[in-house]
Symmetry: C2
């Protein structure tokens, strides 16, 4: 009986109170994890501030959620866009602060053997997955500290194991480093920083047709010399994607 009460007390202590008062800002809500999370938290009564890359994504999400959920256009690769989204959040949460930030926005492609790619291809992925996350976090930190909130950074299994060429793994390794550094820095302020390392979930990031088309595109652009040498790799890459 005593154990049962202890167990019930423990379970109760794990349930978050006053969820309806809390603001959560989520990036990349057009599809995938961000989209699902926005709907779930809205369903639980939280005040969701959903950042979307496209108007279509935002209006689709609004249709499926309550009027509590608000959306904003955000391209995390663009510093101006991040800055104006942060101002929008500040104007909404005011003195209450931001209870949660979920850095979810990310891209996978261009992805191919490293030699087929250019510096610009690597930069493109790093700009979204790593610098985008850094920028959003730095801009919203004063609001998060105000409410002793929490930050959840969506990393990947590719943040621990290098699975493919291109900028994706590099960016996710960077996410691990950034989150760890941030976690220790914000502990004295009562802010928790967590990471999530999903593996192969069927979100839109893994639509094989899109990846195949992009790899084929990169392959065509690759100069002839590496092409000959890396010929054997084409098959293995295609097989890996399939």
């Amino acid at each position: 009986m005593c154990l049962l009460l202890l167990y019930r007390w423990y379970r109760q202590s794990q349930i978050l109170e006053n969820t309806t008062d809390k603001y959560v800002f989520i990036t990349g809500c057009d599809s995938g994890f961000g989209n699902k999370l926005a709907k779930q938290l809205d369903n639980r009564g939280m005040k969701v501030l959903a950042a979307c890359l496209t108007n279509t994504g935002a209006s689709e999400l609004k249709k499926e959620c309550s009027s509590r959920l608000q959306t904003v256009m955000l391209d995390v690769a663009d510093s101006q866009s991040v800055s104006s989204a942060a101002k929008w959040v500040t104007s909404i949460v005011a003195d209450k602060g931001l209870w949660g930030l979920v850095n979810n926005a990310g891209i996978l492609i261009p992805m191919a053997p490293n030699e087929w790619l250019t510096r610009a291809d690597f930069r493109k992925v790093l700009d979204v997955n790593l610098l985008g996350m850094v920028d959003v976090t730095i801009n919203l930190l004063p609001l998060i500290r105000k409410s002793q909130g929490r930050i959840v950074n969506v990393s990947s299994i590719a943040g621990r194991v290098t699975l493919c060429g291109g900028g994706y793994c590099l960016s996710k390794y960077g996410v691990e480093a950034f989150s760890d550094s941030l976690r220790r820095e914000l502990k004295p302020f009562g802010v928790k920083v967590s990471i999530i390392n999903p593996d192969f979930f069927r979100t839109s990031i893994l639509i094989s047709e899109v990846i195949k088309a992009r790899v084929t595109d990169i392959w065509k652009k690759t100069a002839s010399e590496p092409k000959k040498c890396l010929w054997g790799k084409v098959l293995s890459t295609i097989l890996w994607i399939c």
Copy 2:
């Protein structure tokens, strides 16, 4: 006697032959590891192609080495500069290929608690330490494959453990990912990829006066609100640097 012969045979097999025929390209030869390595390899009779960021660095190095050593101006953060350095290497090594590439160029600052920094501060470090390495490697890969050479990427202990805020650890985590991916990709072509993870060596990257001045500079630029909250951290940061 048999064991002794076996030992001698093993030792002999580990010694590189025909070193005088081999070309090695090293980035960041103005100071630190790159500078030392260029001198050492030149001393052993290898054909060193030393990339320097400054004219002073290049001329100082030339003074201390034989006429075999050749220098080139290279800013790894600039794609144009990387491309023209690669053309210079191609014109020298011709059909012989490049036996070794040492990606050593790197910077540490801006380094400070993450909240004091901007996206541009993170980008600056990533541009040199990570994208610079990627760019140099991709540009020189055809030459390295030609001679079944090797690539040595200088990472850091900060590529395994997050020691400070700012872009440095993020970039070095990325170096680990890039090197691992490259290592597996190039194995079928007989190219070896290695990393080195130095810890706190007294190279110019760790001149404490420079770091202190830069941290103070960033501190002054930081907006007043985070300043108040992060006040306690100043001391710990300064202590850490000292």
